[in-house]
Symmetry: C2
Subunit: 204 residues, 2 copies
Amino acid sequence: MNIRSYTFEEYVDRVKSFHGFAAPGVVIGGFMVELAYQHLPEGGLFNVVCETAKCLPDAIQLLTPCTTGNGWLRVINIGRFALSLYDKSGGEGVRVSLDPALLEAWPEIKNWFFRLKPKREQDHGLLMEQIRKSGASICAIQKVRIAPDFLERKRRGKIGVCPECEEAYPLADGLVCLGCAVKIPYADRRGILRSVGAVDEGRP
Amino acid sequence: MNIRSYTFEEYVDRVKSFHGFAAPGVVIGGFMVELAYQHLPEGGLFNVVCETAKCLPDAIQLLTPCTTGNGWLRVINIGRFALSLYDKSGGEGVRVSLDPALLEAWPEIKNWFFRLKPKREQDHGLLMEQIRKSGASICAIQKVRIAPDFLERKRRGKIGVCPECEEAYPLADGLVCLGCAVKIPYADRRGILRSVGAVDEGRP
């Protein structure tokens, strides 16, 4: 079974190059995206919501036009290994998830998915072989309709300059930017170099 | 000025292919990532935190080993056009942001960045030309230290099966998975097809 325009081996190579290694979750994710497309009208443009931040977003970014930065992929980290492709106007689409009940036939996938064995005791070769053989047969697929309030495109409001950090921010966020309001994720920020090489310590 | 191993034109082509179009924010983001690397030890491995979900994450995913799915990139959407590359053990790194004060010399970038003109009145050709010419000169760079609690790697806890949806989820999330607890983002989920083509309407 091919994964979009790729053979299994070609897809695994793309995973290694983008994700850094042949992560089982990204490889399984490839079959999940392929399964979703098989149940959608050909040539359609779909947005994606991904229910986990782990691995699966990279399968989506490799195989669909949707990325984190273009906003067509949204990750809502609710801890389920599932994704939905949907029409952004009406919200109709399909959801593909990994079905735990179907993993009984594939013990090494089950060990990995439920973390039943420490990583060092997992057999990566056997795991990849079971993933290749099982393909999308370990997945469930459902019709879904995305909730209207999730579909709603946020209005892009006015941009201003934060009086505290002097950087641009959406004025709707408040009197100062959220970075200054909550201070995360920095313990320390200092030593502004205005441009390459030009040191300017004058700013707080 | 090159952007990592790419010429400006090569990088813009990569942006089109991954992001879908030559978005100004992803192109500027290329110079920002390049500037960050110039101020970091060569050959080091760095994680990235990105302070906006718009555009910038894709520059990071194109030019660093960090992706949404492998966890080395984290997006905290605090609305600032900035990113930090840091050493994941100690948290030391550099932060690159777009400096509003430096945009005075580049009116078309300023128009785009502060949304001073409706999109249809923007001159895309002039904007790209100003981005190419300005390069990283519109950026500020600072030394940063990421806060220890942000660096902390969350322990990967036990995985169980949610009694409501029968899917796998992190047991630490509660008695049911977060998807069942909060019900987002779906208005409707039905018609489970167990595997390709095999209809099973028996599950709720």
